[in-house]
């Protein structure tokens, strides 16, 4: 009797042509010129970045485009201690960043700051890739880094803390 088969490897590979949609396409095109645009809900006035063409809270289409800042506030963060292929050296911080003028945090990499110094409420700004490398992708933002401004009081970001 031969050894029992305890496992098999069956490689799976599927290729997709991703369609970001009308709203996100506009967002990506503007990123290439260092501009971050969101969309404002006509009903609740919340601004979504990146925009997806709808307000998930109200279920209505969002059309009004608004430019938001490339600086913002850390609402919450995670210290990553386990490296993976292609990751920046650990420990590093992945943070939720509420850009000024937006109502939903973006996930961004924090650099030029020690992990133990990152705080909820910390002010940060985007560091863009050199102009010649700008492209319609979020990779156009290399990372975020502290601005040195005073922290935003935690009460002011409570609404966005868990988002």
């Amino acid at each position: 009797m031969s050894d029992p088969v305890t496992g098999i490897i069956t490689p799976v590979r599927l290729e997709y042509t991703y369609t970001p949609g009308v709203a996100a396409s506009r967002f990506l095109k503007r990123i290439a010129s260092k501009e971050i645009v969101g969309q404002k809900c006509p009903r609740c006035a919340k601004v979504y970045v990146p925009p997806r063409g709808s307000c998930p809270k109200c279920g209505v289409p969002t059309e009004e485009e608004v430019t938001v800042a490339d600086s913002g506030t850390v609402t919450t963060f995670c210290i990553v201690n386990i490296p993976f292929a292609g990751s920046v050296p650990v420990p590093y911080v992945s943070a939720h960043i509420l850009l000024d003028g937006s109502d939903i945090p973006l996930v961004g990499l924090l650099q030029e700051v020690a992990a133990e110094d990152v705080r909820m409420g910390m002010r940060v700004k985007a560091v863009w890739v050199p102009d010649e490398e700008l492209a319609p992708t979020l990779l156009s933002i290399k990372y975020f880094t502290p601005t040195g401004e005073p922290d935003v009081p935690i009460e002011k970001i409570m609404e966005y803390r868990d988002a």
Binding site: I8, T10, V12, L14, E15, Y16, T17, Y18, T19, P20, G21, V22, A23, A24, S25, R52, G53, S54, C55, P56, K57, C58, G59, V60, P61
Partner: protein, 351 residues
Amino acid sequence: MRDVAVVSFVQAPSVRRDPARNEVEILMPVVSAALEQSGIPLRDIGFTVSGSCDYLAGQPFAFVMGLDAIGAWPPIEESHVEMDGAWALYEAWIRLQEGDIDSALIYCFGKSSMGELPEVMSMQLDPYYLTPLWPDAISMAALQARAMLDFGSHDEREMASVAARSRRDAASNPNAHLSGDFDVDVLLKEPYLVSPLRKHDCPPISDGAAAIVLVAGDKAREICERPAWIRGIDHRVEAHQLGSRDLTVSSSTALAAEQAGGRGGAFDVVELHAPFTHQELILLDALSLSNGARVNPSGGALGANPMMAAGLIRIGEAAQRIMDGSAARALAHATSGPCLQQNLVCVLEGE
């Protein structure tokens, strides 16, 4: 059994490829139109359930993003099936039988154009023996067609006739995108795509979405002049392994139709979810209808086949004909899995 009726049905016009819009952008106008047609705002809908497939988007939990089209705040009672929307409708119908709510919203969407659909479909097979062989959807359907032809119950001319009739009917359906006037003799001279299937035997690849509102009892009569009452609904599944099934017949369709009260019945209109021509022939054998019902006046899945929506659209098309007064009794069918593995039958009637 509590009386439950379709009171509104809306679908996005299917297209081969929607290059601009994402799923939410396709879905949003469909859902809002279905709600508007029902006159029930989302906050008064008792239960919401969707049907979609993450493999079509190539993204885990893609179905959660579908909720962006709904506005699920404050939180709603919501569910999802990783299947065609017809099964979402079945879940909604069961939920309405509980009696504590009166309405349900069902929506579904599929953007097949983003991946290689025939290969994506092989992901639904058993992962040990079949998926590693990468049998694509058309090849599997061809195996079934070959089995049917060898058995001798139908021939290639009948298959081509299904294609010609469906594509002709699709011409008057603004939501279909593959239509035209074809001569059966000319079709039969076409080369095989995957023997014994020719191109005309296969469905188009479509991007689309659909939504239905179900309402129970007298409330349905209040908001709809002619509600399409669900008189019976049932679904049955067969073995996962193609090799352990008789592919020349559809025993699950026969059983579901029996349970739904549709087998051997007389209908004004029948909407069958048969993506491949030979499958319509197998389904009609299983249903043993007693009169010359009009089959797939919409053109069926051969005119537009938005994955995860084409089944619900069959129920919607059948219900629409009752709501507009052109039919009194209709049968709708939806299928899931390779070679008609799982089948749902729904019997609809006017008052």
